[in-house]
Symmetry: C2
Subunit: 558 residues, 2 copies
């Protein structure tokens, strides 16, 4: 027997209950028209995921509940599985509401609540403990679970199948990090073949502050073979016909729904399997979607970027153009007395290649003014780093003034290596609303720049930008490697210390230079106060700076 | 029978395992000399509380374990109850180690893990489930619990007493908010009288990033009457003699320790009951301790403050002087073309009264430079708010340059009302390392200024500062009430929306003006991105901006 199902890979906005509800209704209508028997939506699809402390407002919960009831009232025989917040008046549950025939027919409460990494579900929710139930859809027993549930070896899928489920529906709010999509598909395929039943996995898509949801919803059959896959990083209604193998002793589910058992038409709306992505392609698309959604969902059409001719601002400009269109990206070159010629010509060449508006504003008048204003205080001193920081902050000032006056969001251009060691000026180059490449180590920035040119089949990014030694150009002949080790040495140490929770001693024990490791890890620790005041940006690794890494600023551990 | 016990109200630094260990040893030595039978330390007293993601580093756990073993090895017959991280190799536990006679004799694992408000204990710890044990100290059965445990009605204290405990020791890492000390004493007194046994409650003291621990350790007898109390906001070793009433059927504890059963000497080291505090006095001391410890623990001796002659920077300067001493506080007045005469004279009078160094740096040269630099971009426009922001950022630049050159930390002067509605300039008046009054609504700022003068018995704060209408002075004749409602109207709405999780509709339903509420709550929502880049500061309410209020920036809920 075949079951036609739809996976609604939608892009909700957290908190926008009305708009999210409309998305649900529209997708439901499409699934109905395609004669689907089931449609599954993402985790917390009415509130968007993660709603964070909005969940602490009782009226928010009530508003969401009203939206659920409105949606349920609009359902017919196609069975909808909707991620919702459920409440017993005191406690909240992360739940799946089964809606059909005009009402909510069943609620499943998530059992495994992730509370690590970027997840805080135990802050809000109580785990479900109710007996599991199967939902009969056209007579087929369907089991439901939510996100983390299926990652747990003895999760509810085990009991659901033991009690007669012939297909599992897993609804998810699973944020992206590099290669996460492949990880999910491997796990679910493994579960399906071990349990011997098909599994459909639906995920939300879109950017929400630091998180990007990559979508990539899919269906595997009872042997774990892929039957359908929605494209990554875009909304999609994935419709798949799944053949259900009756299990030896078919169980009659206590809840029996569905009347869409009519033979499925020949004009099959089932989509082909979308191509997967990997590595740098995936990373780049995550940056684009994260940036686009942060701007769009916060009401910004245009962005402004300080173009230094360096590798970081160059990559950010490319991402911005792909996210918003060249007409919505504004570049500003802000030379100083220490800027090299190539920094301006490289920035101009890039702007020209990308087709973005660019202006040049020298920071010299402001820099000179500050030197004059501070002269009485600094008399007799030879300020070094202070003047470097002043220059960087003059640039931040210019960008923010343009932002204030024209409503352009400033995109911050710092990378993860700089953020880690504090090689940036607070209120200077770190200003902005969104930090596009904050979670890319410097070497990865180079990789993605090369990717941009490869994909374009031409030199969008001037080759000089890629080959010249990196410099902040805040004093004569400055180069990054005067203050920092080469990125080939630095990045692996940072990855161990920041992303893998190793200590300085661990890294030394692994064979890295002791003096270097001590210096670098100390730099990371003392830069925490600066990172804490940095803008959010796309998370693409398993541990980004931000809510993912909650270290104390005041920290005596060495 | 009497039991002499010591409560070690210490001020650890998170992560500083070696220094914290030394504190433990020193206090233990004092307790030994005073012939105490028990000494109790705070929760996680070797790591400091809260260690946050340091707990994810396996070597940190190992280092802490080594420190515990070193401490235990140094113990004699006086029984020490020490807050530690316990590990079973896979999972971590928030635990109390009972140390005596040279080794760890018992480990109790905390059962109730708070995961709300500023607490994230479920991110790190697994709750204990082992059978409870009593510790025999000089034959007296002692029960142990940790912080949240005792707040839960059916917490371990119930079973401990049922199984024969004759005194309870509760070790805590309980952060301050207004009147929290009174709340704790009332709860514990209630528990003691209900259970009919004495309870000793030990808390850590000191500032840790946004949190201030107020100490206020105390002992109540079996009727809930106060036997001893350590002073608030300072380190103390509270020694108290507690009379133990034998319970009808005395139980023989499985663990039997202690040899300090000698009669207690007449030269009694027992301290008098320290005075409690309340209201504004308490708030003020919390600000002082939070500021002092943030500076001290992060290696700053001196601070710099922009003195505008307004009420906010005035209060911050007073707190700073009390925290660090007048010699370590530097004021800067930064007048512009829009500054009134009184802003400079009021700032000068304050600096003079406080005895702090003050300089004046006009921002005019930099402001004029930016106007010139931006003229081509702004041609034909009449920038209003943009020029206001530019002025504020010129001031931020000056403060940061002084900070960079002289190593003075910038203290940020914004209050909670401004932070809430976004009435500040990002990278302007919000720059700094620590935001002293970030959790005080504006009306409370006035209260504390009046308190300063009351306490001093003279006009430390010029009366004009308190009576003049607040203004940002960024355009001619500007006043806060041109942009915002009077603070008497604003603050109560903010308290409901921010501190009490009411929605706009809830507040309208409570009788506030609908248009005003819609406007104010919308301002709060859209300022989230600015607050996210603001410095940390002392938390003194039950909900401060910061880790306490985790709302999405991208947020469609109205």
């Amino acid at each position: 027997m075949n079951l036609r199902l739809a996976l609604a890979q939608l892009n909700p906005t957290v908190g926008a209950i009305g708009a999210n509800l409309q998305q649900l209704k529209d997708a439901y209508h499409s699934a109905e028209q395609a004669q689907c028997s089931i449609i599954a939506f993402g985790e917390l699809s009415i509130t968007g995921y993660p709603p964070e402390d909005l969940l602490l407002k009782p009226r928010f919960i009530a508003d969401q509940r009203a939206a659920l009831l409105e949606f349920a009232a609009s359902t017919t025989s196609c069975v909808a599985v909707v991620g919702v917040v459920d409440s017993d008046g005191e406690r909240l549950f992360n739940a799946a509401a089964v809606c059909a025939d005009g009402r909510v027919q069943h609620i499943y409460r998530k059992r495994s609540l992730p509370n690590y990494s970027v997840f805080d579900e135990k802050r809000y929710f109580t785990p479900g403990t109710e007996p599991l139930q199967l939902i009969g859809v056209n007579g087929i027993p369907v089991g439901i679970s939510i996100c983390e549930d299926i990652w747990v070896d003895d999760g509810p899928h085990v009991d659901l199948v033991a009690s007669g489920a012939e297909i599992l529906v897993s609804i998810n709010g699973s944020p992206y990090h590099l290669d996460k999509d492949a990880e999910r598909e491997a796990l679910i395929a493994d579960r399906a073949s071990q349990l011997g039943i098909p599994i459909c996995y639906v995920n939300q898509v879109g950017g929400q502050d630091e998180l990007v949801f990559d979508g990539g919803s899919f269906v595997v059959d009872h042997s774990g073979e892929l039957l359908g896959r929605a494209p990554l990083f875009t909304e999609s209604l994935l419709i798949t016909d799944v053949e259900i193998q009756h299990r030896e002793s078919r169980v009659e589910p206590s809840i029996s729904l569905g009347g869409n058992a009519a033979p499925i038409h020949a004009d099959n709306p089932v989509l082909p399997i979308a191509e997967s992505m990997s590595g740098d392609d995936e990373l780049y698309e995550a940056l684009v979607l994260g940036t686009r959604d942060y701007c769009r969902k916060n009401g910004f059409s245009d962005v402004v970027i300080g173009l230094s001719g360096g590798i970081d601002s160059t990559l950010v400009a490319c991402v911005a153009v792909d996210a918003l269109g060249a007409d919505h990206v504004h570049g500003v070159a802000m030379p100083s007395r220490y800027s090299s010629d190539h920094s301006l010509t490289d920035a101009e060449a890039l702007a020209n290649n990308l087709g973005v508006d660019m202006r040049t504003i020298s920071i010299e008048p402001a820099f000179a003014a500050y030197m004059e204003m501070l002269d009485p205080s600094f008399a007799g001193r030879q300020p070094g780093l202070t003047w470097e920081n002043v220059q960087s902050r003059c640039r931040g000032q210019i960008l923010m003034a343009l932002s204030n006056e024209f409503g352009w969001m400033v995109l911050t251009t710092g990378n993860k290596s700089e953020a880690a060691v504090g090689y940036f000026t607070i209120y200077g180059d770190s200003v902005g609303g969104y930090a596009v490449i904050k979670d890319l180590l410097k070497l990865k920035v180079y990789d993605l720049c090369r990717l941009v040119n490869e994909r374009a089949g031409k030199e969008v990014i001037p080759n000089n930008v890629i080959v010249k030694p990196p410099s902040a150009e805040l004093r004569p002949d400055q180069r990054d490697d005067q203050s920092l080790p080469p990125y080939e040495v630095l990045d692996p140490i940072l990855s161990l210390y920041v992303e893998h929770d190793r200590t300085a001693q661990d890294i030394i024990d692994a064979g890295h230079d002791p003096e270097m490791v001590s210096r670098i890890t100390r730099l990371v620790d003392i830069a925490e106060y600066k990172r804490r005041q940095s803008p959010p940006g796309v998370r693409v690794t398993q541990k980004a700076f931000g809510k993912d890494r909650r270290v104390p600023i005041t920290n005596g551990y060495r």
